[in-house]
């Protein structure tokens, strides 16, 4: 009897310690940006574990790069929704009027033409684009690092995410600052030595090589820097999240 009471007290203390430990861990995780916006629901714990672990492991790691000889001869662009009339109008003028606007938590909201973006230091990497379905290809991606453009407009220190919006209807996504400031994250306007083909999202696509294909949105026209994703769509961080897909896709 005494033994079982002692056992009960010990397990009670252990449970209380465990619960408060978990609460403290959750607060710390929130503080260090280890909780993804889609942390709710039955799959929330899995999403959070993956995101937190990968953020601790990969904050500064680089996506694998390949040699020129490994570039896929026929990169598969995947299905493309019919182009909108607005897009066709811009296309007819060679995308001379294409603008990328940046707003939100920045010192100087601005907008850039493709020519502006091309005038900034150009970078390239040969990386693999991998779709969540399982297929992949390797290409050379040419663009301006997103961090360069963010530095030009001046990001507020409390900024946590960059939301990017596509010209395709209801198509948007977001990444955290670790990915936004990552040296391999590009506003991408070229591929395999030439212009970015329309099938691959030309004139401008987001290239996040440490995440799955669908985070690499095509036809980017707007960036919004924010500290809170709640105000965007259903607050889950991306359009695909509203169809049950994960926000963080480093896995």
């Amino acid at each position: 009897m005494i033994r079982s009471r002692r056992k009960l007290i010990v397990s009670g203390i252990a449970a209380a310690a465990g619960a408060s430990g978990l609460a403290a861990a959750a607060r710390l995780a929130q503080k260090y940006g280890l909780i993804p916006p889609d942390h709710g629901g039955i799959y929330g714990p899995g999403e959070t574990l993956t995101y937190a672990t990968q953020r601790l492991l990969t904050r500064h790691s680089l996506a694998r790069e390949f040699s020129r000889s490994q570039i896929s001869p026929r990169p598969f662009p995947d299905e493309l929704a019919p182009l909108t009339e607005d897009f066709k109008r811009l296309q007819a003028r060679g995308f001379a009027d294409w603008r990328l606007s940046i707003d939100g938590m920045v010192h100087q909201p601005a907008s850039f033409s493709i020519a502006d973006l091309k005038s900034y230091p150009s970078r390239s990497h040969i990386t693999e684009l991998a779709c969540e379905e399982g297929w992949s290809y390797i290409a050379e991606w040419i663009g301006v690092p997103l961090s360069h453009v963010l530095h030009l407009v001046g990001v507020h220190p409390q900024a946590r995410y960059v939301v990017y919006v596509s010209m395709e209807p209801d198509t948007w996504d977001s990444i955290d600052m670790a990915d936004a400031l990552h040296p391999q994250t590009f506003l991408c306007y070229g591929m395999n030595g030439s212009e970015l083909p329309i099938a691959h999202g030309g004139p401008l696509r987001m290239r996040v090589p440490r995440q799955i294909g669908y985070k690499n949105k095509k036809f980017i026209t707007r960036l919004t820097v924010t500290d809170n994703l709640k105000r965007f769509g259903k607050g889950l961080g991306c359009d695909a999240c509203e169809a049950g897909y994960a926000w963080y896709t480093g896995i």
Binding site: I42, Y43, P45, G46, E47, L49, T50, Q54, L57, T58, S61, L62, A63, R64, F66, Q70, S72, R74, P75, F76, D78, E79, E128, A130, C131, E132, E133, G134, W135, S136, Y137, I138, P209, R210, Q211, I212, A240, A243, G244, Y245, A246, T249, G250, I251
Partner: protein, 270 residues
Amino acid sequence: MAIFGPEAKIVVFGSGRLPADRLAASRVPTAPVTKPAPRHSALVRVTHWITTLCFFALLLSGIELLISHPRFYWGETGNVLTKPLFQLPIPSSRRLVPTGYGYVLPDQNGWSRALHFEAAWVVVLTGLLYVISSLLTRHFRKDLVPCKADIPWRKLLASFTKPLRLQRPSAAETSSYNGLQRLTYLFVIFVLFPLVVWSGLAMSLGFASAFPWSVTLLGGRQSARTIHFFVSLALVLFLFVHILMVCLAGFWSRTLAMITGRIGTAKERT
């Protein structure tokens, strides 16, 4: 008594080397101890059923993910514009995958990916708990590492053909595993399970950025995916044989042993 013949011989041959607990185990039918140790420890039972649950979640979501691209490749890259190593003759949930079927299945990849990764987390943590605590309690040494007397080819072959002839296991096998079972469990725990986790993680772009060798050693991203598929197949094969053997040995007595820890009565066994 004829059934006990070979078992009795082993005891005689190996008596100098057999650990005491296994000797005791082989005597259980004739000399019951007043307070027997459970057939399976509480840790083995809990981790077994958590793993079972995760296995089915991973299998279901894995098949669902596979349907979106039932083609496999070798090397770093592969897509519908490249020649596959092989393609499964099933319909797909993506319109651009050439399958020969006139219809496209609905896309279920959102929750399938979420379930796959969440179940993977639980099963990996459970597996770590099982392996670490089993090392501490010497579970592997006591229950799974075969004795020398257990692993001559003739004996292993006998363990293999006996169930094929639909012969029930001997009484001694109620409280302990035979050599073939021991080797199979060790193979699943220390080869197949780590390999399926490794090949799965190699497909994670984030993980691969931190540990690029994890992909290179497997021969590339698409090779990792193909290996993941075949190791999963091997695990499913193990599951089938495992369930078949449980049925042959007495489904309820063995299942109850894995739930309550106690071995069924002699009546249940026969």
